[in-house]
Symmetry: C2
Subunit: 308 residues, 2 copies
């Protein structure tokens, strides 16, 4: 039985702060219909796909912040996306700001969901590595207040069976941590989806700004190769409210090779036929974990304090 | 106080099976003298630098195998290298097959040592990730019997203070495992040295042969960037006893950028001025481990069985 799945990456161009959810969902549906014409079976959208990247602003009024959050999924504005996907028989994944009750209290997460071709949510992931800061830092050209507006996820990466494959989700900054790929792969994941919003300007080390595109691909390609994973990295791209965001959405084979890449910074579809059995070219041989890995030699990796 | 150290990589071309240790050491000294003229303070040689890469042959006679091992370091043949380095005030590191008593019994390791400018051995490392196989597999064009001839190292990566910096060593296949860089960095290492002997042909997955150079740099660049480490990767290169070995020795900055690279497959020196304080551009910000890393979210990484 062949396990070739046609996967699409639906890069989104900038979303205005005042852009309605319905307008964004219409853009997402347009990409989905284009994807259907190209035979896509699973379509991946970026992180916080429904709104502008709001952590770039310091907001003191919680109601103003909460306007960027979803309290139900699907909700009235996202239901058309779910409906169209079910009609097309297409699975999909996207990120959004989630406000919901967990453990008996109202909490906020940077969330991604994986939806099957039946329109049912098969898995939900809460971003583990929240970058940025939690207090207002007016010296920055723009803020990165993920640590203020979200709680960090408390569930490790997982692997979800769907459409004959094993899927894991991660979000944006997660992709820079080798642990993301390894933890997912050790749980059997064959495809890792990664939505991102990545400014070209990094206020803390602007001397690295010219390396953003290099670092973006470097960490995803290395994560794919070192784990024999398909990686689908999808950007929100372009100039969004005076902030330039990286594009270069890509699909990466388990060899680390980029097999599809966006070449605009707007709404753009990329696709690839992903043979999930190709993960074995890596995992049965050079990175046969059972045979070659040495977990007893990595004591620091799970130590709580990174003392030296 | 500046912490710029001029580091050299001394790539070695092929070593014949019947080449005398004294001849190899003479080649190493020639590279060392060239390095001195270029201001090198620490010179890195490849894995198993003193002999041909003997695990490519199946040998039943242990005496034949043992002829490739060193029983003392320095020994009569390597003493001139130590002497010349001390005269030049240069630190150095190289790999060799070590046969020595540990824990009361005679054992064999794929070893690397770090030697200070005073000529004293400051650290010793036993290769943790031994690739290949332990039984004769005649179908291969050449063997890769590291699992037969060596025991795996039993001490995790370390960090050794020397010349105002913190150094860690790894060897060849170790560089393909993200854990190598992370464990070293969590112990404070600022420079990771990596000698390698890497055939262009990988018998288990020859469909990846054309990717050897890509994978070599990918894993080292990603490891450098994800950990804010300087990485010095040094090859034994060229056609050695009918086996083609990858060259492309390189020095990689903590940004992941290759700042020096060999362009031959013979004996060749590469050098770079490595500012150890540049590790902080990464570690104080995007990969501030204390602030952003989530060790509690990586439970599988140190689990002994990689069950799913």
């Amino acid at each position: 039985m062949t396990r070739i799945i046609t996967i699409g990456g639906a890069q989104l161009g900038p979303i205005r702060r005042d852009e309605a959810r319905s307008a964004v969902v219409a853009r997402m549906i347009a990409l989905m219909e284009q994807a259907a014409r190209r035979g896509v079976q699973m379509l991946i959208y970026p992180e916080l796909a429904l709104t502008t990247f709001f952590p770039r602003w310091f907001m003191e009024d919680q109601a103003e912040v909460d306007a960027f959050f979803e309290t139900e999924m699907p909700g009235p504005e996202t239901q058309p996306l779910f409906d169209r996907a079910r009609e097309l028989g297409m699975g999909f994944s996207f990120g959004y700001a989630e406000k919901a009750v967990y453990d008996g209290r109202l909490r906020r997460f940077n969330t991604s969901i994986l939806v099957g071709p039946d329109g049912e949510i098969a898995a939900r992931y809460h971003k583990i590595h929240l970058p940025g800061h939690s207090e207002h830092e007016p010296w920055r050209a723009f803020q990165h207040l993920e640590k203020r507006y979200f709680e960090p996820g408390e569930t490790p990466y997982m692997s979800t069976e769907l459409m004959g494959g094993k899927w894991a989700m991660a979000i944006c900054n997660d992709r820079r941590w080798p642990e993301t790929y390894r933890e997912s792969a050790l749980r059997g994941a064959e495809v890792l989806t990664l939505g991102y919003n990545t400014p070209l300007h990094y206020p803390l080390a602007p001397e690295h700004d010219h390396l953003q595109a290099f670092h973006n691909h470097l960490c995803m390609q290395a994560g794919a190769y070192a784990n024999g994973l398909w990686v689908v990295g999808v950007a929100k791209a372009g100039r969004e409210e005076d902030c330039d965001l990286l594009g270069q959405s890509c699909i990466i084979a388990p060899t680390g090779e980029i097999v599809a890449m966006a070449s605009t910074i707007g709404d753009e579809l990329i696709t690839a036929d992903c043979d999930l059995d190709r993960t074995q070219e890596i995992r049965d041989h050079i990175f046969n974990f059972e045979k070659h890995r040495r977990p007893d030699m990595y004591p620091m990796l799970t130590r709580q304090s990174n003392g030296q």
